[in-house]
């Protein structure tokens, strides 16, 4: 589904991502882990077109998407959530998700219709599936942080993506919010036959749901494989899992 090969990115001499290659299979749930500054967000930004790589290629669904613009990549079926809840804060919850439908279905060039009732059913069904239907008319910026992250997931799902990239989906959440979010993610991935790639700090979350784990350290991929393989990899234990235990 997603194949990254030989990806490299330097920022004025600093090597942020060094020759990273890995792949995610269709309908797989994969995680990228690594300490702060390991290059996880940079890797995501390279995949979704926010940054152009120096060398290397990104293939998605048998298409070369290296260096394509974010809206183009989004339209090909890659959904994304950001590390900080990235929503449209002054619009209502309903309008947030509706806007994503408008954008994806190409209705944005329509400057004469009334936007109020457009994609009403689709938006309400999606809000129900992420558990925010009761908040449809709330101004989204006033939601709790956990709910804002849920809403961001809703925005990412509206274009009906084949793959979701989630940058720390449970960052800043309480333990119960984290659990609810993980269950929601697993359920949605199953229902929609999604491929998931996420970064996460919480190792319990990672080992609970990831089928494949890639470990980044100082921009380098030091391990990639099943949770079992990664857990027993000595280098991973040394640079990362060991650090956690201290």
């Amino acid at each position: 589904m997603l194949e990254v090969s030989g990806l490299r990115k330097t920022f004025s001499g600093f090597v942020a991502i060094a020759d990273v290659s890995f792949s995610v299979e269709r309908r797989q749930i994969a995680a990228v882990i690594g300490p702060n500054g390991a290059g996880k967000s940079t890797l995501f930004n390279l995949i979704t077109g926010h940054i152009r790589p120096d060398t290397g290629r990104v293939r998605f669904d048998n298409n070369d998407i290296t260096g394509a613009q974010p809206p183009v990549i989004c339209r090909m079926g890659v959904g994304r959530s950001f590390q900080h809840a990235n929503i449209f804060p002054k619009l209502t919850v309903f309008e947030n998700v509706q806007a994503a439908f408008i954008a994806h279905r190409g209705a944005g060039t329509n400057f004469w219709a009334k936007s109020r009732g457009i994609f009403d059913d689709e938006t309400r069904i999606l809000l129900r599936s992420i558990g925010l239907h009761g908040e449809a008319n709330t101004i989204s910026g006033t939601l709790s942080y956990g709910n804002q992250k849920q809403l961001e997931l809703g925005i990412a799902l509206a274009p009906d993506p084949k793959m979701l990239l989630l940058d720390e989906p449970t960052a800043g959440m309480s333990a119960s919010e984290t659990r609810a979010t993980i269950e929601l993610l697993q359920q949605i991935a199953l229902e929609r036959e999604l491929t998931l790639l996420f970064t996460e700090h919480d190792m319990d979350v990672v080992f609970a749901i990831a089928q494949k784990i890639a470990v980044l350290h100082q921009g380098r991929l030091i391990a990639a494989g099943s949770p079992m393989e990664v857990r027993s990899n000595p280098e991973v234990r040394r640079v990362y899992l060991g650090e956690q235990r201290q």
């Binding site: 613009q69 994503a100 109020r116």
Partner: protein
């Protein structure tokens, strides 16, 4: 309960009906003032499509106003073009210039966007100022003819009126139609996409929006309507001058929008009304109008941080929230 009744009144229609009565009830002076307000309100509302809806701060919106004004005036005076043609052409020309300038402006963001719009506007002003053969240069372009409005005398009730009053009606109808179109655009799916760009361009990109293309489209639409306002103003003013495109004109319209409230569709109209009436009243008492204006603006902006209409809407929403609870 009363709030809900208030919400159901067709205010827009009532305001239009009331405006229709102005020449019948008020003096020529106030009819002329009303024409002035209507035209500038259209100018301000066109800017608000950028400022309030898309979140783009343009410091050079006067360029498109001036472009429209010169186009209409030159076509009517030098080429004897009928008003309908000249009016439409001024929108097209202003839109085309907005397309050319906007192409570069939307490549920048925030303050750099604002500075580039200002730079382009100064170019327009310089051209108007120096190109004597076409624009009349520093002296401007005076004696712009009124459109032929004799046919309006045939409309019952408008028989005994002067050309200034007929022109008020033409302005009212044309500006009214422009308002309807702009409102329709801001409530359309296109308008909704513009608000997502205002709120969060990064996220907007990743719901599949080509942010720059939408910004450019908004820039062109705003330019077209600024041009139409300029066309009406040139005739109303009986002359077109380089000052129409000067940066102070851009600042003035920006103040009108912010004063009225850029979060509200009718905010710029309220701002234009307030600023124009204040100007009119205060200059009749003192020659220090800019200073008094400055003080009043400071007070208004502190008392109404969301603009006059924005603050009123906030109060109304708060009251409705209380009665519902």
């Amino acid at each position: 309960m009363t709030d809900r009744l208030i919400a159901r009144v067709p205010w827009t229609l009532l305001a239009f009906a009331a405006a229709l009565c102005i020449p019948l009830l008020a003096s020529r002076f106030y009819t002329s003032l009303a024409t002035d307000i209507l035209i500038l309100a259209l100018f301000a509302t066109s800017l608000n499509l950028l400022l309030g809806t898309t979140g783009l701060v343009s410091f050079g919106h006067a360029a498109y106003f001036a472009a429209g004004a010169y186009t209409c005036a030159i076509l009517m005076k030098n080429f004897g073009a009928p008003f309908a043609f000249a009016f439409a052409a001024s929108g097209v020309v202003a839109g085309a210039i907005a397309l050319a300038f906007g192409f570069f402006c939307v490549r920048l963001t925030k303050i750099y966007f604002a500075m580039l719009t200002l730079a382009f506007a100064q170019i327009v002003w310089a051209i108007c100022f120096k190109w004597n053969d076409v624009t009349g240069g520093e002296q401007g372009f005076s004696n712009v003819p009124y459109p032929d409005l004799a046919w309006m005398a045939g409309i019952p009730g408008l028989g005994g009126m002067r050309v200034g009053e007929h022109y008020f009606y033409i302005t009212l109808v044309l500006v009214g139609i422009c308002f309807l179109i702009l409102r329709r655009i801001s409530e359309s799916p296109f308008g909704r996409i513009l608000t997502t760009i205002r709120e969060n361009p990064e996220r907007a990109e990743f719901i599949g929006i080509h942010v720059r293309r939408y910004e450019l489209a908004a820039f062109v639409v705003a330019g077209v309507f600024a041009g139409l306002a300029g066309a009406l103003f040139g005739i109303f003013n009986r002359g077109v001058f380089p000052d129409f495109g000067y940066w102070s004109k851009s600042a003035e319209v920006l103040i009108m929008v912010i004063l009225g409230g850029m979060g509200q569709f009718w905010g710029p109209l309220v701002g234009t009304f307030t600023l124009t009436v204040l100007n009119q009243q205060i200059t009749s008492y003192t020659e220090y109008w800019p200073m008094v204006l400055g003080l009043i603006l400071i007070v208004l902006l502190y008392a109404f941080p969301a603009g006059i209409l924005g603050t009123l809407a906030g109060i109304a929403r708060g009251r409705r929230g209380q009665t519902d609870a």
